[in-house]
Subunit: 355 residues, 2 copies
Amino acid sequence: MKKNIAVLPGDGIGPEVAKGAVEILGAIGERYGHKFTFRYGQIGGSAIDRHGNPLPDETLALCRQSDAILLGAVGGPKWDQNPPEYRPEQGLLKIRKELNLYANMRPINYYASLLESSPLKKEIIEETDFLIVRELTGGLYFGKPSERTYRDGMEAAVDTLYYEREEVKRIMKLAFELASTRNQKVTSVDKANVLESSRMWREVAEEVAKDYPEVTLEHMLVDNAAMQLIKNPRQFDTIVTENMFGDILSDEASVLTGSLGMLPSASLSESGLHLYEPIHGSAPDIAGRNKANPIAMILSSASMLRHSFGLEEEADTVEQAVRSILDSGRRTADLAGSGIPYSTSEMVEAIKEEI
Amino acid sequence: MKKNIAVLPGDGIGPEVAKGAVEILGAIGERYGHKFTFRYGQIGGSAIDRHGNPLPDETLALCRQSDAILLGAVGGPKWDQNPPEYRPEQGLLKIRKELNLYANMRPINYYASLLESSPLKKEIIEETDFLIVRELTGGLYFGKPSERTYRDGMEAAVDTLYYEREEVKRIMKLAFELASTRNQKVTSVDKANVLESSRMWREVAEEVAKDYPEVTLEHMLVDNAAMQLIKNPRQFDTIVTENMFGDILSDEASVLTGSLGMLPSASLSESGLHLYEPIHGSAPDIAGRNKANPIAMILSSASMLRHSFGLEEEADTVEQAVRSILDSGRRTADLAGSGIPYSTSEMVEAIKEEI
Ligand SMILES: CC(C)[C@H](C(=O)O)[C@@H](O)C(=O)O
Ligand SMILES: CC(C)[C@H](C(=O)O)[C@@H](O)C(=O)O
């Protein structure tokens, strides 16, 4: 199989972990006889520095000519004081919108070997395994107006939470499809006791549920969901929610298992051009020091093998390799506790050897 | 001292816990020679049933003639299918808006004696003690438009996140005032990398901070805050945030210590007429069974004694009584584990005896 992969390393630890993923994919290509071609593009702060634009047209064109996209991470204190359009995050928001990456999927799995790293008690977190499906191209993130207003000497600011019914339907269907391949339960999270958009969200959920009689639908208010994630994370199978709630809840969920540095995500489009990135950020504090945990990025590339290229066995091989390295006790600094930490490159090397 | 207290028991376990608080206040009145007059009003589902209105004018008038308001809880499955205007929560939203209760304060304290009830590991949760200051009368909750739109056969829904600069200033000042009496640190939570309202929020925070040189200001993105609350709750002193973020984060925070049934809240106005209510909801599943934990409601009334009436000693007495009952191992069903639970009325009786 021949595939073109766009690699957008981004900022902070992005380049280090992206390099790791590329090496692993190279090893997979060698072992299974695939030809992966990696082409690099700029995004985020580094793109602002070189092109004055967090998402240059060249990058977008590169992505459109590729079969899948691997993204490291964007952002850092260097650009925090920039005006809104010149912030690294704008690159991320723009690529989502331009490529219509409407669904962000974040699986939250517990790793038995990482139990000590979880802030939660063992009996709460054990066996947790759920998926958050976050709407990624609508809601408060993109609604207009989003601006400052001045009237009678009074300043105000407004943002707009806007959803078309069809947008909600699209993400809801995906959530039910995914739940069908999992434990047959969808938890739709909204704030229907306050927001009109949430009431529409709930209606659409009920409507779509009719086509999936084998899947149980449950509605949960977002404030309650924020509690339930901590009190009893095992109750969840597939959570589906709008953009802002999804941002908050998926970050909350990502620390439950103590494995933030290990969690991949996939952002899906209808066109088939998908983007894969770790859940963690650019971690400027440890950037360039060969300390970052490359596993989230490596698992993101495994997710790419499976979902974009249909390479099940190859994806399994990567995931197995990661699991056996962890079982053997090898850890990067984020998870090493009082043990001796592996560097980023040592970790990549170890996983490569397993493959 | 003579005071008129409006008691709005509401729905579910509301009446049971409100009754408990009234008894405790009665005992305090007797011991310290105050005359508290309790006058009852309807709110929520029970008000819909009797008056066809979740906040009847009589209730509002009663509140306006009182020195402080005690609220139980509202809501229940019975009214969940009602049209938006006839839902119990509307009573809550309306009373906040009508009485200009712009600031909700939720202290999150860890109780050494309840450590086992926390979902978090001991070393994470120990010594946690922070305050969430949530803006309560603005943002997505009240912005217009909040409606369904139909255009070219396409249905959509819109909600509006709107803040005036002065509204932000008011809550920010309060947060800094409160932080001054605590550990001198304000964490202002926003989503300034996406929302214009958050960028204004951040500007106002910087501006107000100048008047409080002894208080440290830190900005945190809401998604990161949702993580940090779990990873390291001890880092917080005073958190200030807008209405919807506050709703989500304060509910998340309320389960960290394992003492949801014990957490009071106060909603403050500029006029001096404040409202006190437990953080927990109406818990319809255990309503009417004399099982509910009355402590959150009782501590809310202690907060009333302190903040509305300036009765420091009396408030301390109530809080001390609660603490010694807990230290002696007495628990209601929510916290009893495998022990024998106290009923609501037994718990109230025990606390009363301490007083
Ligand atoms: C960087 C930021 C704009 C982004 C978001 O809020 O979507 C990030 O938090 C994420 O979750 O991918
Ligand atoms: C009942 C609901 C409208 C309310 C809110 O969202 O403010 C509740 O969750 C709260 O936090 O008091």
